[in-house]
């Protein structure tokens, strides 16, 4: 079993800056996995993240059948990887969260010259039911160096 470190969503805020694309895995009702990149995962609060829904994609169709997903995000400063298990809670089509995601999508569309292609349909909110560091070789070496108390003095 690999060592896992306890983290919170606020500990990994830089993962939600949209600098490195995330990965999302979903599964259809009959158990066929699908995996794709996400331009950005949005931090909502201590326990929730939001994903933008722009197209009627396989990811969206899978989540309508099976409301669980697994997302991997990467810290753009350290390249640490974090694995999150999500459960769908609600969809927002107006309000501050929707507007925040819409501005982000509009900015990406403008940068890529695809204003007519990328258009936010909804902001989908998920509860984060698991969050953990996926240790790289560097992380494991740092953990070994820090010792069993994580390097903290008692």
């Amino acid at each position: 079993m690999s060592p896992r470190r306890q983290v919170t969503l606020y500990d990994i805020q830089s993962c939600f800056e949209g600098i490195i694309p995330a990965a999302i895995a979903t599964a259809s009702a009959d158990g066929v996995p699908n995996v794709t990149h996400l331009s950005r995962v949005h931090l909502v609060d201590d326990d929730h993240v939001a994903l933008s829904n722009q197209f009627f994609s396989k990811t969206v169709r899978n989540l309508a059948e099976n409301p669980r997903a697994c997302v991997e995000v990467i810290d753009p400063h350290t390249y640490d990887r974090y694995r999150m298990v999500l459960r769908y809670e609600r969809t927002e089509r107006r309000g501050p969260l929707f507007e925040r995601l819409r501005r982000d999508i509009d900015a990406i569309a403008a940068l890529t010259g695809m204003q007519d292609v990328f258009k936010l349909r909804s902001a989908d909110v998920y509860r984060v039911v698991e969050l953990e560091l996926v240790p790289s070789a560097a992380n494991l070496a740092e953990m070994r160096d820090a010792g069993p108390d994580g390097g903290r003095e008692s």
Binding site: A25, N34, K58, A69, R83
Partner: protein, 157 residues
């Protein structure tokens, strides 16, 4: 099913992400580190050795999705199928991992996407190999056409 263009794309340095699912339908996302298209069309995929959930899922039911994305253009391809074996890495796998890892770092540094010393932190603690039979291929390039089936037919996923 894997033609020359698909083979070239999958074996090129790119971002490789893997989806699996447990027997209760809970999906998992992890990373792969190199793909080799074998002569019979099966894929030899190098997975993170400490991807405990993904490896347990593959041993339980074999269902797998793999998406390869060009770091710079974001052109993407998803292959779906099943895994017939999960094996310890061989010396040839280690050579393949080292070569692909070096090529990935070179692409990312050349494109000014990250510094080499930061990317090095991303390296996994080890890899294992799985053998994948491909059953379908999809265009996964971001945009409204993502999910279009490229093989065996031209319908959406």
């Amino acid at each position: 099913m894997i033609d020359a263009a698909a083979k070239e794309f999958l074996e090129a340095p790119c971002s490789l992400i893997v989806g699996t699912v447990d027997d209760d339908g809970l999906p998992d996302a992890t990373r792969a580190w190199a793909v080799d298209v074998e002569a019979d069309g099966r894929l030899r995929v190098l997975l993170t050795a400490n991807a405990d959930v993904a490896l347990a899922n593959l041993r339980a039911n074999g269902r797998i999705a793999l998406t390869a994305t060009d770091f710079v253009t974001l052109d993407s391809m998803q292959v779906k199928g099943h895994v017939t074996a999960v094996e310890p890495r061989t010396s040839a796998d280690e050579v393949r991992f080292d070569s692909n890892w070096a090529r990935c770092i070179a692409v990312l540094v050349d494109a000014d996407l990250a510094a080499a010393e930061v990317i090095e932190r991303f390296a996994p603690p080890g890899v294992v190999a799985c053998v994948m039979v491909v059953e379908a291929i999809f265009d996964q390039t971001p945009g409204p056409a993502a999910g279009t089936r490229l093989a065996p037919t031209g319908i959406r996923s």
